[in-house]
Symmetry: C2
Subunit: 125 residues, 2 copies
């Protein structure tokens, strides 16, 4: 199936996160995974990295990404570039849900904590 209706976001097992996988290995891809997410005000990811390049498009809200000990603010219509292996942590620093599109150059998407431990993500990657 080459054309797919985009699924609705559903609450994920990670508190504060709603998620929908728009495309990935189950759709015939070998190199891309695309996710739509919202993060609740005050929520954040753990510090983590991926074994592939990632691009996040911010669609709405106010976020902050921490990289190499520095905080970078972002809002709607910004692009966050996260090269393969770069440790990062994302925060919703606003008062409304942080709306994002997450784009990954792998499927499934290998994800690790700073100590190298693999994170089992609770959605199809």
């Amino acid at each position: 199936m080459f054309v797919i209706e985009q699924p609705r976001l559903e609450p994920a097992a990670i508190p504060g996160i709603a998620h929908a996988t728009f495309a990935g290995a189950a759709d015939g891809l070998q190199q891309l995974s695309v996710w739509r997410q919202t993060m609740a005000p005050g929520a954040c990811t753990p510090p983590h990295s991926h074994a592939c390049d990632e691009v996040v498009l911010c669609l709405g809200g106010r976020g902050e990404v921490h990289i190499d000990g520095q905080a970078h603010r972002f809002g709607a219509d910004t692009t966050i570039v996260l090269p393969k292996g770069k440790l990062h942590q994302l925060f919703n620093v606003g008062t409304v849900p942080l709306e994002t599109l997450g784009i990954f150059a792998a499927t499934p998407v290998a994800t690790h904590l700073p100590d190298g431990q693999a994170i089992e993500l609770p959605w199809r990657t």
Copy 2:
């Protein structure tokens, strides 16, 4: 630079196409290229393929993708999945611009006509 303001779309050298590169090799990536495009009513791409997986998110308008001799219609909030090497041709079949986000698992993005001839795209891929 990890956070990038998204550039405005500019008319491309290909008639009917406006384009902005949101992320790619120039931003420190090695595996992803992300483009925002509009295609004018009546316009289409040539039949072509890429040497990487592609995902197109339709943000607005009415499009059609031709694959393996079949036409697939799509509109806003649909995802088009184009596995590596799959020949495809995109058409705007509506009356307003076709609004898309193009996601590629390579940077630069190698693009070929059906006879194998490389296409030199007139934007940063």
